[in-house]
Structures are given as C-alpha cells and as structure tokens.
C-alpha cells in the first residue's frame, strides 16, 4: 500500500517537475513532512544534504525519501516513478518539440516557464534553509554559499564541505 502510494505520488510529481528536481522540492517537502509525517523538517534537510553530497543527479533525493519510508523497495519505486513519466514524455515529445522551435507558441511557453522555475528553485532553497523557526545560522550559511557560488566557479562540493564545517561549529 505504501509502495503504491509512493509510486503514484512520485509519478504525479514527475509530470510537474519542469526545471527538474529542484523545482518540486517545496512540494516534496510539504508532502513528506506536513501531509504524511514521514519525517520532520529537520530530517528532510538531512536527507537533502546526503543527496547533495553524493554524486549523481539530484533526483536521487526521491530515492532517499522512498528508502526512509519503505526501504530498498521504496527507494527503487520512488526513483523509477519520479523518472518514468518524464522519461516517456521526453521520448515522445523531444523531437516534435524541436520541430516547433520557431513557432510563436513555443517561444511563449519557453519564456513563461523561466520565471516560474526561478521562483520554485528559490522556494526550495528558502524552505530547506528554514526547517523550523527562522534560524540566522542556517540563513547565513545559505546566503554565504549563494554569494560564493555566484562569485566563483569552484566545484560546488567545496561549498557543501564548508557548510558542513561551519554547521558543525555553529550548530553543534
């Protein structure tokens, strides 16, 4: 039953995940924490941190949520469901979409998607950095990382490592 629910939820999420996993993180967090109570908001940021630190596409966060809810089966089902519908869509739509490159409606869709994706990624960052009552320490780490990322071109892993070190110092 849990597996079926996981699968259905992630399949729906897959279909609205324009912009990739970052766009739907606010929704995943809301569902896993507020609606289902699978984990606390503090746990969610931990799961997210592990997903970010490991190599691979960040859609793997879905498999960690699945793992936490239903073990290995949950991890497989969550990942397959999160990727499946989008993959089928990509398989059938990508080439057709390419053919309509110069049409006015396609350009309108592309311009429409951009600000929405920006807002969703921003929301995801804000929600993750605010698991409970606003905590200046988390916000400071997030703000410093954002500034560092914009100012330099170093591998993002260094920022994660720095965040961990500062977190251990400030939050421990």
């Amino acid at each position: 039953m849990t597996l079926l629910e996981l699968s259905l939820y992630f399949m729906l999420l897959s279909l609205i995940s324009v912009g990739g996993m970052p766009s739907v993180l606010p929704e995943l967090q809301r569902y896993a924490v507020d609606v289902k109570g699978w984990m606390t908001a503090e746990d969610f940021i931990q799961v997210f941190a592990v997903g970010q630190a490991a190599p691979g596409p960040n859609v793997l966060i879905a498999s960690l949520v699945g793992w936490k809810v239903a073990g290995l089966g949950g991890a497989l089902v969550a990942l397959a469901s999160m990727c499946g519908p989008a993959a089928v869509l990509a398989y059938w739509v990508a080439e057709a979409w390419e053919r309509f490159k110069d049409t006015r409606w396609r350009k309108a869709i592309q311009r429409a998607i951009a600000p929405v994706v920006v807002a969703l990624i921003l929301s995801g960052g804000f929600i993750l950095a605010t698991p409970g009552a606003p905590d200046w320490r988390l916000w400071a780490i997030a703000a410093a990382t954002a500034a560092g990322m914009l100012a330099t071109k170093v591998n993002p892993l260094w920022f994660l490592a720095a965040g961990g070190a500062i977190g251990g110092f400030l939050l421990g």
């Binding site: 606010p26 592990v50 691979g56 951009a114 995801g124 960052g125 939050l171």
Partner: protein, 181 residues
Amino acid sequence: MNVAPPNTLGELFLGFLSIGARSFGGVMPWAHRVMVEERRWITEADFAETIGLCQFLPGPNIGNASIVFGKRWFGPMGSLVAFLGLFALPFVWVLALFALYADFAATNPALRAVVTGVGAAGAGLFIGTAVKLGRVLARRPAAIALIAACFLAAGIGRISLFVVLPIAFAAALIAAWRDWL
C-alpha cells in the same frame, strides 16, 4: 572536429556509467566531458541544444538527455540502456552514503549539526542558481511580479505546487503571449 555516435549498446552504457560514476558536485559538466570531449559522440552545439531542450521538459535534465540521446542512436533500447547506465552507480552510492549516515550521524548531535550545515549550503546553491537564472529575467516587471507571487505562494505560504504551478504557468503564458516577459 569529427564526431561519431557510439557503435554498440555496450559503449553507450559504459559512457553513461562513467558520467554517473564521476558526477561529484553536479552531473552536467561530466556529461559534457564524456560525450563531447572524451568519447566525441556529439558536437558542442548539439550538446547545448539538447540540454536546453531537456530543461523545458519535466524530469531531471540529464535523465531526459539520456533518454533523448539513447533514442536517437538505438531506439527504445538505447534510451533504457543510457538511463540505467547513468543511474546505476549514483543510486548505489547515495544509498550507501545514507546508510552510513543513518548508522553514525543520525543520532549523533554533533554530526547532525555538520549534516544540517551541508544541507543549508545545498539550499544556498539553490538560491544562487535562482539568482543566476533570475538576473536575466529581472529587466521585465512582469517577470519580477510572477517570481514574487509564486515564491510567496509556494515558499512562504506552503501551498501545494499542484495548485500553484497550473495557476502560475497560466498567468506566465498570458504574460509571455502579450510580450510582457
């Protein structure tokens, strides 16, 4: 520069396996290195165009790219093989890392603090990405209004994306059609 697609499904699998295997800190740079520079399957322009296309489809960009390239070269089997190659190792590693975390860090306050710090930095990477993408759009007042409204609804108001997204996208589409974006 001469480019040639992979000759066999095995080659395709190994190529995507090596992308996934090395993708510490983000997959896209490694996808570029393997497909354009090392194995020379595609040209720079082709890579950029396909990734751009995949960004406008739902789902993980690089996952979609594996589907699109796999299909182009070997049909449905190609899509499946490229996708499995891409995810095989990262899937194992993320679960292994999470198992380590669950054993050692989950109940240890000092280590939890470190992990939370990593998470906050990850959140910062998202915010930085949003700023980077948003800077280009910020010349248009309609774009700023849309971003603000959508952030208030999804980020602060915690309204479900299944509600926010259709409304926001409809509004954005109208704005785009009227050349406000």
